[in-house]
Symmetry: C2
Subunit: 324 residues, 2 copies
Amino acid sequence: MGEFDLIARYFTRPVRHAALGVGDDCALLAPRPGMQLAISSDMLVEGRHFFADVDPEALGHKALAVNLSDLAACGARPLAFTLALALPRADEAWLAGFSKGLLSLADAHGCELVGGDTTQGPLNICITVFGEVPAGQALLRSGARAGDDIYVSGTVGDARLALEALLGHIHLPGELLAQARQRLERPTPRVALGLALRGLASSAMDVSDGLLGDFGHILKASGVGACIRTDETIKLIAAGAYPSSATGQFDQKLLQQCTLAGGDDYELLFTAPPQHRAAVAAAAAQSQTAVTCIGQVQAEPGLRLVDAQGQPVEHRFASFDHFA
Amino acid sequence: MGEFDLIARYFTRPVRHAALGVGDDCALLAPRPGMQLAISSDMLVEGRHFFADVDPEALGHKALAVNLSDLAACGARPLAFTLALALPRADEAWLAGFSKGLLSLADAHGCELVGGDTTQGPLNICITVFGEVPAGQALLRSGARAGDDIYVSGTVGDARLALEALLGHIHLPGELLAQARQRLERPTPRVALGLALRGLASSAMDVSDGLLGDFGHILKASGVGACIRTDETIKLIAAGAYPSSATGQFDQKLLQQCTLAGGDDYELLFTAPPQHRAAVAAAAAQSQTAVTCIGQVQAEPGLRLVDAQGQPVEHRFASFDHFA
């Protein structure tokens, strides 16, 4: 199978919204009047972002999910994406699975594949995604203000727990591993929540490198500090609800480590002023996405952790860094 | 140097046109009213698209040039691009050279770096570029009509000649190798010509996989055939003008092979009706880019080569295919 057959067979479908899709030198998009185009690009590398033997359908899902998560964090509605793919060889079984996972998630979000590139090389998946957001309404990292509540969507930390188990660092009971592995391999981009938070959240981003480290970017961009309650953050990891008799292999400290510095969560981390509490709860309900308030933004710079009694908690949680 | 320092140091600059640049979950672009956004994505892999020891500054130039060439082929004006980069390690000398070559070409075209991704992995460069074109005015592959002239910009084939020399398949005199290598490593995207051809060219694309193979995409998309004159195409390779006494090492057949099926040229290949001949010449002059008419589009399907006397020339030139 040649390069152009491969593209025609697995990655070419008629476009409904874009003015021009796969097959010319460029794709053409026409954002509606008054709309800004939100753009994000993520590159996934074998051995770094996924294991060589990962289910290709899950990989196709995740490759787009991590990009849709960036649109969600901006409150943008998905429109289209390009796919650049380096493959060691044209493996039809792999391509069938990968394209199925990719395009199923794309269909679920009305996000069209409009172009890209295919080449031979070490497996590398680079997706650039496009969404639209009314001009001036994008959720940014820079709008957090002292007094704002800090929220996290869904569950956080289970992806890292699965990674630790798959690397052989810890043992997880089979059922728990299966649950956690779903979170690692098939993350859910919080697109509906991001849309519902327009006009409510003062800042937002998605959690990809670890909750505390990522929140540091909001604090820096907004010029503020924060206090986060560890009795609330420990609730964020779904594995924490697993019967403790079965989880003697790992302790609360590991769960908190995974929660606060795990990475690969693709949940939304956002702030909102207290007067929007009811509206945030309504946005969560409307988008069928749980949100948890884990602390407050403060004027004093720095990130402080406190326990249920308000006592300081010592911490040294490092965020993920590809070159540190 | 960590990931975020690397991005801040080499790849973050204030944006002038985009609404939001590097540093948030998404970049924000706002195309002007009546404009469509042209989008193209290219992935360059070490050992496949460039040698491991290539000058990083030239590589930075080429990585963006091949993308700008796609915008040129659509008649789109460059606006912005994202860069996703997998690096084996954070090598500061390499990054300084690469970013210099990349951003110099970006500045020359007013094309802003607005976002992207950085990760560790086998060297891989994926750029997605954005341009704007008035709605309905993009140059496509599908508009060629019987009777149209077929044109190529600049010179074609020298990049492949350089590649053959660098691979040790042929020997080139030093001066000629230096010239040809410039064409391989620092291609010139024909952006000004593409803009000048709006409303004149009936179809266009850029030559990246080889002239004849690429032109096949225009013929297929347009549902036409063509006749191309080899006495004109042989003039397209700059090396053909080199004193023949010094080029005993390679013959006219090799030059024609490089011209018609070389690849990596990044020249524009376009068609235009005969009544636009004077206007095409004016567009070429205005954009300071030579164009050569090499044949005519015909109603009869298929691609025919003829010599100066109009006699058929047998040919079997294969286009580049990453998986063939």
